[in-house]
Subunit: 135 residues, 2 copies
DNA sequence: CGACTTTTGAGAACCATTGTCAAACCGAGG
DNA sequence: CCTCGGTTTGACAATGGTTCTCAAAAGTCG
């Protein structure tokens, strides 16, 4: 019996590239685009292909290690976040981010979904504005 | 004095194309992509360039006549909505939409922004799920 | 009917994101 | 340390939604 119990996970390997992306993510606390992250990595001397940056970010996002959301232009932006469910207050200009929680909102959302019999619910809730520093 | 009081609006003209887009929008009540709307128009016999569809939708959105939001792939989707501020419960599969309101959420969002001194606030709040019909 | 301004559309251009696939890499055994 | 098989990478092509270009077409108004 080789493996009937374990779902046979793909075995993620700790490579130089993945370490570089993780390091870059640890280096800022605002939301950044994949391209910006790619640039940051290059600027630090490391060299990681853009496609790999995208792949790594997607993987991390699926694992819940980073949050991905879309700015008002529809571009994906990423950030290493705390692992509890939360939302964001994001500066439209510089990306400065504050994690926020709203238990009442969570309840409201699930109640709404329930009332209309929608299943497999997910929700997006982000607040955009101009931070004090960018005024 | 030609015009110092009126901000000199661009004078939007009622063209066949704009009427066609408006008619298409009136023909469905779920969120659709620009391409889908373009197809609907063609299917109704009218012919409107895709670029014009985009232009018209953008104009209508700025005027608050339609709502634009992004699906989970980041694509813009559009819908003719009521003119009061509201949010949406959208079926991930068929696009079926329910407009929802949450006064408490609105208050929560502005309080959060205020607490962190962010200005020019806007927020996005959408709930995605699978509607009863799509189960 | 002109003179003037806005609008349109076919196609090119953009550009973020994803796909391709051979070469490089990793880790476990041997 | 060497080998073997699956994993990962990266240069580059390909996608696909959206915007740009600009000459031709269509409103507006006297
Ligand atoms: Zn977060
Ligand atoms: Zn939430
Ligand atoms: Zn709406
Ligand atoms: Zn609101």
């Amino acid at each position: 019996m080789t493996s009937t119990d374990q779902p046979q996970r793909p075995a993620v390997r700790p490579t130089r590239q993945r370490r570089a992306v993780a390091a870059a993510l640890a280096g800022f606390d605002d939301f950044r685009s994949a391209q910006e992250i790619h640039d940051l990595i290059s600027r630090q001397g490391d060299s990681v292909g853009l496609a790999t940056v995208y792949r790594t970010l997607s993987t991390l996002a699926e694992a819940g290690e980073v949050d991905m959301l879309r700015n008002e232009d529809g571009e994906a932006i990423w950030r290493s976040c705390s692992d509890t469910h939360h939302h964001h207050l994001v500066c439209r200009t510089c990306g400065a981010t504050v994690e926020v929680e709203g238990p009442a909102v969570e309840r409201w959302a699930s109640r709404i979904a329930e009332e209309h019999a929608y299943a497999e619910i997910s929700h997006t809730l982000e607040i955009f504005g101009t931070c004090p520093a960018c005024r």
